[in-house]
Each structure stands twice: as C-alpha cells, then as structure tokens.
Assembly symmetry: C2
Homo-oligomer: 117 residues x 2
C-alpha cells in the first residue's frame, strides 16, 4: 500500500529551512531534475550523480523535511516530487527562480564541478 | 578615504553560497532591512535585533563574501547595501522572491521568534 512519508504541512513550511535545503549543489541538482513536476523514483532522480544510496537518502530527507519535496513509498519504491504549488503559495516565485538559476548555463558548469569534487 | 571591502565579482557570485547566506533568520532580517537599496550604516541595520557587534560583524561578512551585499568603509563607519542588480542579473527573481517572503506577514512572526530564541 502506498503511503506518503512525513512532511510539514504547507503552512509550516519555513523559509530558512527551505533555503538551507536548497543551499547544496547535490540537492540543487536533484531539484533541477524534479522540476518536471512528475513524480520520479529516487533511483531515477540520482542516476549518474555518483553518490551512494545513503548519501542520496540523506539529501532526499533534508528536502522532504524542509517541505521542498514530497515522497511516496509504494512497496519498495520511493517516488519523489517537488511541492511546487505549496512552495509557490508560501514563497511566491522562490522555487521558480532557483530552478531557473540552477538550470541556466551560468550555473551548470559550477554545479557539475562541485558535485564531483 | 572610503573603500569597498573585498567581494566576489558579479560573475563569481555562486548560487549555493547565496542560498547559504540567506538561510539564517538574522541574515534574512538584515536583508529585509536593506531592501530599500539605499546604503545603510551597519549600526543602523542591526538596531533592535539584539545581537552583539561581533555576531553582527560575522553576519555582514557572510552576506558580503557570498555577494549578497556590498560594504563600503568610510572612516570608522561601514555602509552596507544589497547587490540587487548583480544578483538579479545572475539569478533573476531570486532576491525579490526572498525579500517578499521575509517581508510578508506569513513569515514575520516566525522571524521574530527565531531571532530572539
């Protein structure tokens, strides 16, 4: 049976926690990959980033507990999605500006370098 | 003679560093107060927040080194201003969305509580 892992309600999503969750090159890359808004399996999201399963699990937890993502466990598979609507209600324009920044050519070189350093 | 303290060039302002600099309730409050874009003395900016001079100095340094603010030393007085144009060129909409979020009634109660806890 599918269940949603614990996450803050929309009104309890905290700006400092969201900014902290986003202030990491790996998590920014995960957010960029999730920006399609379709739920993706954790395995698919981290593909090719070159991090261990436990590191990936840590990053997904930070994003979920901050309210940036929602995680649904379906059997042995976890599906992750961005909480775009909730974040845009709480902090209009914030997630969109971060996704634009991280997806732009000005950032991508830095991103790849930092992730693999 | 007035001089500008060391700060990253516009093209070296890094998204992760900016998000990290903003991910703190005191620094968010400083950014909110600086959102008029007029240079303000450090003393004026921190008035009433209830932090020591050394703590204030630390927070101003983090903001400056991340490229969020510019600091000009004029004799014994330091004037701080947001690098709004530089940030908006690098990461369009990001600073504006954060200033809106931190200035909104949804955040202010949390902000004051966290700063004084």
């Amino acid at each position: 049976m599918a269940r949603t892992l614990p996450q803050p309600d929309r009104e309890h999503i905290d700006l400092v926690s969201v900014l902290h969750a986003l202030a990491d090159p790996v998590r920014l890359e995960l957010v960029r990959r999730l920006a399609t808004d379709a739920p993706l399996s954790c395995t698919a999201v981290v593909e090719g980033i070159g991090i261990t399963a436990s590191t990936a699990s840590h990053h997904f937890r930070v994003l979920r507990e901050a309210g940036v993502t929602s995680t649904r466990q379906d059997g042995r598979i976890r599906y992750v999605s961005l909480r775009s609507a909730d974040l845009d209600t709480r902090f209009p324009g914030l997630l969109a500006s971060v996704v634009t920044a991280v997806g732009g050519p000005a950032y991508s070189a830095t991103s790849v370098r930092e992730i693999h350093s």
